[in-house]
Amino acid sequence: MTDMSIGNASLLRLAEEEAPATKVRSYWQMVGYRLRYDYVTLFFAALIIAIVLMSIFAPWIAPKDPYKTSMAFRLKPIAFRDFWLGTDELGRDILSRLIYGGRMSLLMGLVPVVIATFIGGTLGVIAGFIGGSVNMMIMRTMDVFYAFPSILLAVAISGAMGGGMVNGMVALTLVFIPPLCRIAETATTQVRNLDFVEAARASGGSTLSIVGTHILGNVLGPIFIYASGLVSVSILIASGLSFLGLGVEPPNPDWGLMLSTLRQSIYVNPIVCALPGAMIFITSLSFNLVSDGLRQAMDVRM
């Protein structure tokens, strides 16, 4: 949310044109500079880190055993005895389950994106760099998967293969490969046609070093930004799958699954039942805002 957003490009250009800086910051310094003053992004980045740490250190943080059931204490409201956020339909501590739930939800959010970034990015760079029939084959295959809206594809795959966390992850990975592949391909093709790659070639750089230095350097940015935006999509679709009974298996604490099972109890204890939804919302919001901040700082338009 800096003033250096897209809309002000013209003014920036004018100012820079009129006043060439003697001290030219490097690109990454500039990005860092912009981020440093982007308090919103910094705040939500900190929130993500907090959620990640909370998940990693769940066993030390969680006040109670997230699997311990108790019929006597089911569906208790917030701040009931030492159940700070109440209990679920089996009398398990909601706070502990929310803390542990971060593990599953982040896993479902991050793993498919990371794998898809790796696979899709690699395929895209290959397609973009080699071009010709290889490009044709890879990109046309991607087009087929592009023909499915993401939720439909995820539901179709995990619906067919049966529920479960692993199947859910596989489904989400397959959903994310095509767009990442396409971005990598576009970026690679663009970079490949730029003069400096030609120059590097002319000066006798090996293919590998060209890919390594120039193409990757220019392709990673857009991919990284796009992928960071996908994390929240992944979290949301994964929670949707859990909601449909196609995601994480019980009794594992997962926000989507908790939301799904607590839905039955919404008339008894609406606030407690809304908590997992709120967690999904906050996490997804944080990833979205950070991704947005990164995009603005890096001024990459998509």
Binding site: L90, G163, E249, P251, Q264, Y267
Partner: protein
């Protein structure tokens, strides 16, 4: 401006009055009963309904009759059989494989055709004879377990039919209570089941009016029903599929429906506080696990008993908001086949001791469960509770969670294909002795041929069952059935957990509903009031 405002207000008032007048002339308004079913779709209306027993409940016994009906007029004891389209049935004294059904006279289908012996034979062939043009493969498959023993049917006279079985079967007549009699001449008019589905015709208390697939089925009262006592007290019955429990509750609370099936326990307080009537009653339903008798720790009787002792069934009932009763045997105590089985009351110490005795401590077991499914109640929290209770006495439980289809696959194929599962959680209807008891205990029913998933074997039961099928004296026969039930308990043949109480919620404007101890219910006595 002020003047304008006044005129508008006056106009509004006029409108309100007009609306009120229209609303206050309900003399013509039809009384409509709107029911939210748990099914995801309208059950098949062409004869044997799908969507489990719910289909039979709302589409089967409403549009159609069977030769023998269930008496659903009482709620104090488990529903028993009563004459339907047949007035009498008995085994041919000369031939223990020939059942004779005497038919009711002067019964007409909704289309006007007469019901007679020829129609019955036609209906039998519809589900047993692959060679006739009106053979229905889908319904054949669904009915296979009930029809497998039929050899053929024959007309004795216009009001008498004989059905011949391959083996003597003293329980055969019960199967005929599931056999919907559809109109032969209406089917011939339609030409195919697809066409017939748009104009089904039976002899039941309701007539088909219209259907929007996946959304609603509208039936209207059959004022000429052969049993005047069961002519519906409301003019129209609308059936709406709503698989989501929360959706059903919301629909009832917002006044979109009048009658919902299976509200989830935690919505009950809210439904009650909004004035809804919540009805619960035992019925022949069993929520249990079938053990693997060949692989794993449950081979050992002591381990099976330990698991049964570990169940704190009262806690389960509490979790289910009182919408279930503790399950100590295959059938609930209200069943005529209950007898005096050994009961495994909650006893943690004894359970632990048994496990130690069996040298299986901690005892690692894997249970196959589903996320949802017909009659599964609330499989996830219930299984989690079972797991917690078993682990409290020294089991180490791994839950293999799968969707309903995958679990059915596991159930069909049996333990041979899935030796790693030590028990499966598929709940069953226990309405008749075969499907409720025998098929879990007979060697002949060993999966994949039948319902005996874990290949349970008891020599005594094998012998008893042979005798039962050949015993046409009901009292003697039932004594033996009770014995089978008791033997299964002695062997701890299952992990008994609970019996559903079949909750339903009704809008306060409905009167006259009598909930029967059955999977089926009679909606005909319900009157729909105008008060909200």
């Amino acid at each position: 401006m002020k003047g304008l405002f006044r005129t508008t207000k006056a106009a509004c008032l006029a409108f309100v009055t007009l609306g009120a007048t229209l609303g206050l002339t309900p003399a013509k308004a039809e009384s409509t009963l709107r029911v939210a079913m748990t099914a995801g779709d309208i059950p098949d209306v062409t004869g044997q309904p799908d969507q489990g027993f719910e289909g039979y409940r709302f589409v089967g016994y409403t549009l159609y009759d069977s030769l023998i009906l269930w008496d659903l007029s009482k709620s104090d004891k488990e529903a028993s059989l009563m004459p339907g389209l047949a007035t009498k049935w008995y085994i041919d004294p000369a031939n223990s494989k020939r059942w004779i059904f005497e038919l009711r006279d002067n019964v007409a289908f909704h289309d006007g055709c007469k019901f007679d012996a020829e129609t019955v034979v036609w209906n039998v062939k519809r589900l047993t004879d692959e060679k006739v043009s009106y053979f229905n493969p889908k319904q054949y498959a669904a009915m296979r377990t009930r029809t497998v023993n039929i050899d053929h049917a024959e007309v004795v006279d216009p009001l008498k039919v004989a059905i011949l079985t391959k083996e003597p079967d003293s329980l055969f007549y019960i199967q005929m209570s599931f056999w919907m009699m559809i109109s032969k001449c209406q089917f011939e008019k339609a030409g195919s089941y697809e066409a017939y589905a748009k104009m089904p015709s039976g002899t039941g208390p309701y007539k088909f009016d219209k259907m929007v697939p996946r959304e609603r089925l509208e039936l209207v009262q059959n004022t000429k029903y052969w049993n005047p006592a069961r002519v519906p007290k409301h003019e129209r019955l609308v059936l709406l599929p709503m698989p989501e429990a929360t959706t059903r509750a919301a629909a009832l609370l917002s006044g979109q429906v009048d009658f919902i099936e299976a509200p989830s326990p935690d919505t009950i307080p809210r439904l009650k506080s909004s004035g809804m009537t919540v009805i619960t009653l035992p019925y022949p339903h069993n929520w249990h696990y079938q053990f693997n008798f060949v692989e794993g720790p449950f081979k050992d009787l002591k381990v099976r008993q330990a698991a049964n002792y570990a169940m704190n069934r009262d806690e389960m009932v509490e979790m289910l908001g009182g919408l279930a009763q503790p399950g100590y045997a295959t059938v609930p105590p209200s069943s005529p086949y209950f007898g005096k089985p050994v009961t495994y009351k909650y006893d943690m110490a004894k359970a632990t001791a048994l496990l130690k005795e069996a040298k299986c401590y901690p005892c690692e077991v894997t249970l196959a469960i589903s996320t949802s499914g017909s009659g599964q109640m609330q499989p996830l929290p219930m299984n989690e509770l079972v797991k917690a209770q078993m682990e409290a006495v020294g089991f180490k439980v791994k839950l293999e969670v799968m969707d309903w289809n995958a679990l059915l696959d596991v159930t069909f194929k049996g333990r041979e294909k899935f030796p790693n599962y030590h028990a499966v959680n598929v709940s069953r209807a226990t309405q008749d002795p075969f499907s409720g008891i025998f098929r879990f205990a007979m060697k002949k029913q060993n999966a994949p041929a039948g319902g005996n998933w874990g290949h349970y074997y008891s020599a005594e039961i094998e012998k008893l069952i042979v005798d039962i099928y050949n015993e046409f004296d009901e009292v003697k026969r039932d004594a033996m059935i009770i014995r089978v039930h008791e033997v299964m308990n002695a062997d701890a043949a299952m992990l008994f957990v609970t019996h559903d109480l079949n909750p339903r919620a009704l809008s306060p404007k409905l009167k006259g509903f009598v909930q029967a101890q059955s999977w089926f219910q009679d909606l005909t006595p319900i009157t729909v009031g105008t008060t909200n």
